[in-house]
């Protein structure tokens, strides 16, 4: 494997998705960059990591998830509190000109931040990566049933939290 060429291709194909996923988990841009840097450094050091991997996106998301969880644990003792950060107003969605859309995006970001990280990860992979529960289970090292139940809990919470605004916009 010529890692120099493939590294660029991998970045162009998957970096945006990994960025969104990790940013949604960590809600911290610098930490998200650290995770991305670590991920691509790991691949550059050992190109054989991707040998035989059929679903590269799923593999990269899984590695990124593990790194993000490690980062959260390492820094849990510091003053930074990820749950508080997650509940804050870290911009994770693209800005739009439509004020209603902008309001919904802001509320959605907050509502996602209020979810436990494990539910947030499932929701992200299901909604924005369109993964099946089997794929999510593989990425997060949980059972498909657990992935499905986490998704249902999370969607119910989001629905309750966002219904007034959603009904108003619709």
């Amino acid at each position: 494997m010529s890692s120099a060429v493939n590294l660029e291709r991998l970045y162009d194909e998957h970096a945006q998705a990994i960025f969104a996923f990790v940013l949604n988990l960590l809600r911290h841009e610098a930490d998200t960059r650290d995770v991305l840097q670590e991920l691509f450094t790991k691949i550059a050091r050992d190109g054989r990591l991707l040998d035989g991997v059929k679903d590269q996106r799923g593999f990269l998301l899984r590695v990124a998830h593990n790194q993000a969880i490690d980062l959260m644990r390492r820094r849990a003792t510091r003053t930074r509190n990820y749950e508080q950060l997650a509940a804050g107003k870290a911009p994770i969605f693209a800005a739009t000109d439509d004020p209603d859309q902008q309001a919904l995006a802001g509320s959605l970001a907050e509502a996602l931040g209020e979810l436990p990280p494990e539910q947030r990860a499932v929701v992200h992979l299901k909604l924005w990566e369109r993964q099946t529960f089997e794929q999510i289970a593989g990425a997060l090292a949980i059972s498909p049933n657990t992935a499905a139940s986490r998704y249902r809990y999370a969607i119910d919470k989001l629905r309750v939290r966002l219904r007034p605004l959603y009904d108003e916009i619709k």
Partner: protein, 128 residues
């Protein structure tokens, strides 16, 4: 089956990744050295300890290889026979007589193990 609500959420697009990250991340990733061989990864957690252990074993091996052979006589340490003790006692008495001392001190008693037979057979004991 996805609800309208889920489809609506799905329609929200995430922020684009900062454009300058691409060059920075790829450049930094390529600047890293290649992965170390497996044995180096295995030794990595405490290389000084492993090196110290290897040095200690090396020194032990060198000392073992360079030390002189032990003489065969020393290896077979035979206890002095009884006649040697008798000669020693005789010499002690002669020296005492030559030195003119009236009271010739008796030689130290022989160790019982040196004169007695070394048999461990127990004498038969009759009861009654």
């Amino acid at each position: 089956m996805n609800s309208d609500f889920e489809e609506y959420l799905r329609g929200q697009s995430f922020r684009p990744i900062p454009a300058q990250w691409r060059g920075e991340i790829l450049r930094a990733a390529r600047a890293q050295p290649a992965a170390a061989p497996w044995w180096r990864e295995w030794l990595w957690p405490c290389p000084a300890a492993w090196a110290g252990l290897a040095a200690a074993w090396g020194i032990i091996f060198l000392l073992s290889a360079t030390s002189p052979e032990e003489p065969a006589e020393a290896r077979q340490a035979v206890p002095a026979p009884g006649w040697a003790f008798a000669m020693l006692r005789q010499e002690t008495e002669i020296i005492a007589q030559l030195s003119g001392s009236e009271e010739s001190r008796p030689a130290p008693p022989l160790p019982p193990a040196a004169l007695k037979p070394h048999s461990r057979r127990r004498a038969p004991q009759s009861i009654g």
